[in-house]
Amino acid sequence: MSASYLFTQASYLAASVLFILGLRSLTKPDSARRGMQQAALGMALAIVGTLTKHEIVDYRYIVAGLALGSAIGYPLGMFVPMTAMPQRIAISHMFGALAATLVGIAEFYTLGNGAQVPHATMAALGFEVLFGSLTITGSFMAFGKLQEFLPGVPVTFKGQNAVNGLVFLGTVGLFAWLVFQPFTPWAFYLMVGLGLVVGVSLVLPIGGADMPVVISLLNSYAGLASAATGFAIGNEVLIIAGALDGASGFILSMVMSKAMNRSFGNILFGAFGKPPEKSAK
């Protein structure tokens, strides 16, 4: 155990505690702002702790990515009007899921395109890219519906159930196959592609008014993708933050659907298997 390893682990532990305290501060409006500033400090600590890892030898792409991300993130944080908040959150789920998915693909590719991936790690990587890829397109669809460049009404077509069912079964089948046979690159990349299709088909039949519930559920998926990343690369702070996020998104979508006096299942699957004209609001 080198000093740099201990420093990294200590920064991760501090970050995890600060995240939990930050979320707890949100139970009271007075303490919320300070608590979230502490959570931001935790994030900064986790970043510094990661940058001192001995695996990291080349800082050029990191600095470029941090600079570019900050340049895009600053206006997204400061100038987006509060009324555009739901779509703002939806699009940022897309960025988060994109990061998790790309890390998963990079990991798979680096480990000999699956040749050196143990079965359990493959299960984690599979969850990571699956939740990640369906969140990417799902969030983009939600963003599109709220921003109104995609139709806000539920989109249904004939044979939709069959198509969705086939895509879903295919994805699960590929995932199971990969866990037994990690060295099948085509199956991995096809699974990522099908995951993107699942994201579209999940959100397409849901109306614009129900989008907040969907966004919250996608938040949960993005969190689970982060947690799976943590399992795949053996990183506890990812697991903790991902689990917090997953729990939060799930609870919020339940609470919101209850507030709308509808069941969770009704919102998600209400438009499935119904004739298209029924869903016109």
Partner: protein, 103 residues
């Protein structure tokens, strides 16, 4: 696979439990900030992205890592800033109300 993965499963389950306990206590008033706060926290995937972008394994991993770092940084910066902006509004809205109650 590394031998610590069972411990990681414990960590995941317990953290999920903590999250459940904490978040069920958040009042409905603060649900929107909570959403954007958890969104900012989920940008912790930046940690994985940094390792992919900086460990110089191969060109594919480096470039994917670069894009991932960019995407995650957007969420870190944008997510915490917008949460702070929202909570600032809440505090201003809260103060006059508190005075009214006292008077």
């Amino acid at each position: 696979m590394h031998g610590t993965s069972l411990i990681e499963l414990y960590v995941f389950v317990l953290a999920g439990f903590v999250g459940f306990q904490v978040i069920t206590k958040v009042p409905a008033l603060l649900h929107t900030p909570l959403m954007s706060a958890t969104n900012a926290i989920s940008a912790i995937s930046l940690v994985g992205s940094l390792v992919a972008a900086g460990s110089d394994q191969n060109r594919v991993a480096t470039w994917l890592g670069f894009v991932a770092v960019t995407a995650a940084t957007i969420n870190v910066v944008g997510g915490f800033l917008i949460t702070d902006r929202m909570l600032k509004m809440f505090r201003h809205a809260e103060k006059p109300k508190a005075k009214e109650v006292k008077a």
